[in-house]
Symmetry: C2
Subunit: 340 residues, 2 copies
DNA sequence: GTGAAAGCGCTAACAA
DNA sequence: TTGTTAGCGCTTTCAC
């Protein structure tokens, strides 16, 4: 409570206040090594009375250990990433490790900068979304010498290891399900984001599988920015005005799919008879809609958990073997908007 | 590219590779002090060739400066907080400062732990949600000697300074608008979260203003967990089954309000004639609904921006004066669900 | 414009 | 069980 000096407290202050050496104070505060109950109590009391908060900067420098895991993701505005984060946090909570998040806004150069910033804090591991990075970023990750897990996508070659789903395959599977249900005039609606590689791969897998059956996407529509739900409405209206004969709409995410669904229901369209719909992600929001949109769960929480487990295991035991690619398989949820 | 030694690179390596002293290398890498173009070029080349990433831990220890701002919020699952974050990030991007986020899950003890962890990295400032903290947490913030901005709420006494809205007043204003529109049988629906102090204060302000006009809430309903949209539906159905004469529903957030709106529209109820609705927050999602839910914008991005500006200004100039409480005033958006 | 010395606050390693 | 010594990798300060 002696708050005269603005200088932050150090171990030395606690040492002096308790009459115990700095080293032993340090041991008590870290629960390391054997310390008698008596001195332990003295130290803790002094530390508490002073309001001492250890300086991790100095600790990290001395011990060459930083219990941080850099998590680098494109955005927080998309519910996908908070869910991945939750998965990561749930696993790291049982370890010494702490996640630190960096946001890239889907921009490769920003990703490179953020990565550089984070690596300069010498974290114990990196979890980063996607497999596409600048050459410099890949080089940094390789050179860092720490475990790196690339998440959400496995269509490519990871720097170190990857956990995710195959978006190409996800697109193909959905295309097959749609064709199987007998839809023929298919429209696609998505984001205007050339840098969203996972959306791009889904689209590629989708058109590829359609092509195998001699089907081509009738029309497409893209958006950027704004309320996804609203954009979903607007795009749905627009594409159907241009191509009224469309009998299926594949949305690159559930949010715009939900907007489309609300719009078509208002129009009194027969879903999934006259027109079918499907999105992607399996977001919780869908549960509150009047009808269940067909979708595919991207295993977000599971990806986060698995990635965190890999990092934690390798921090524990750097020499153990580990899987290079962990593939999870999304399953189609037919809901009420895709005939079986 | 000489990747034989797993030891991370140090300034010394760059110094040796470039034939320039460590000190001058450090100057170049930080753009500090005068360095001749020739040596600057040599250094940068060597650093790049080696793939050197500076060690901020050592830098921070030596310089006693850490360009991090601790941001402590309850959750990322609620779109409110990512929006605050976006506001903070937009301001800090133009400075040397970087936000680092900690999540409390609305738990005071977890908040205390997270705060302790973050302070142990000696950040340049703290932005923390709410005014309610454990005594220990308040003591830590006071003792830290760094600027602390408590955000989102101003009904209380900040440790240092606060930026936000008065939730009590927000509740009162909504109550007055509802009574003015002639509604009389009012129900309340919210989260089962005693620790969401802002929701609690809104409710208090709400009931207080109703009481002034001799009106009492007819019935209430609380939920926890699950899809808010779905819960909104279910709670709306439940409360109206119990109290069919209710003519207005006040929801503690827009998400459950949206669920209620979708449900009532399906039931073919006359909104806002027969029954009115209002939520809170002004979330973007609402724009995609068939009708606009009445709500109140909580100025999330603005709060984030303002808080970041205060931190940045005080890091620049620690001795300047500053406002202790910055109050923003939310305005009612009547939408289509509240008569004027 | 450049370099040498000292030390930031802590912990590893060793000694007692 | 406790203490001492020597750095961790960088920046500050001061000298050249």
């Amino acid at each position: 409570m002696a708050d005269t000096d603005p200088r932050p407290l150090t171990l030395r202050d606690v040492s002096e206040a308790s009459g115990v050496s700095e080293m032993t104070v340090s041991r008590v505060l870290r629960n390391r090594g054997d310390v008698s109950e008596a001195t332990r109590a003295k130290v803790l009391e002094a530390a508490k009375a002073l309001g001492y908060v250890p300086n991790k900067i100095a600790g990290a420098l001395a011990s060459q250990r930083v219990n941080l895991v850099a998590v680098i993701i494109p955005s927080m505005r998309n519910m996908v990433f908070p869910e991945v984060m939750a998965g990561i946090a749930s696993v790291l909570e049982d370890t010494e490790l702490q996640p630190v998040v960096g946001i890239t806004d889907y921009m490769p150069e920003k990703e490179e900068r953020v990565l550089y910033e984070m690596l300069s804090w010498r974290p114990s591991g990196v979890i980063i979304a996607g497999l596409e990075h600048t050459e410099a970023a890949k080089a940094m990750m390789k050179a860092s010498g720490i475990p790196v897990v690339e998440i959400m996508d496995i269509d490519g070659t990871p720097v170190d290891c990857a956990v995710g789903i195959s978006h190409r395959r996800a697109g193909r599977e959905m295309a097959k399900a749609i064709l199987r249900a007998g839809y023929q005039k298919i429209g696609f609606l998505g984001t205007k984001m050339p840098l969203d590689h996972r959306a791009r791969k889904r689209f590629e897998g989708f058109t590829e599988a359609l092509a195998k059956s001699g089907v081509e996407v009738v029309d497409q529509e893209f958006y950027s920015g704004g309320s996804a739900l609203k954009k979903g409405r607007e795009m749905t209206q627009a594409i159907l005005e241009r191509e009224p004969e469309i009998d299926f709409l594949y949305y690159s995410n559930d949010m715009i799919g939900a907007g489309g669904l609300l719009y078509l229901m208002e129009q009194g369209r027969d879903i999934p008879g006259e027109i079918g719909l499907a999105g992607f992600n399996g977001v919780e929001l869908l549960q509150g809609l009047p009808r269940q949109l067909a979708t595919m769960d991207a295993h977000r929480a599971e990806i986060g958990r698995k990635a965190a487990q890999i990092i934690a295991a390798r921090v524990e035991n750097p020499d153990a073997d580990y899987e290079r690619i962990v593939e999870l398989t999304p399953k189609i949820a037919y809901g009420d908007t895709l005939r079986r």
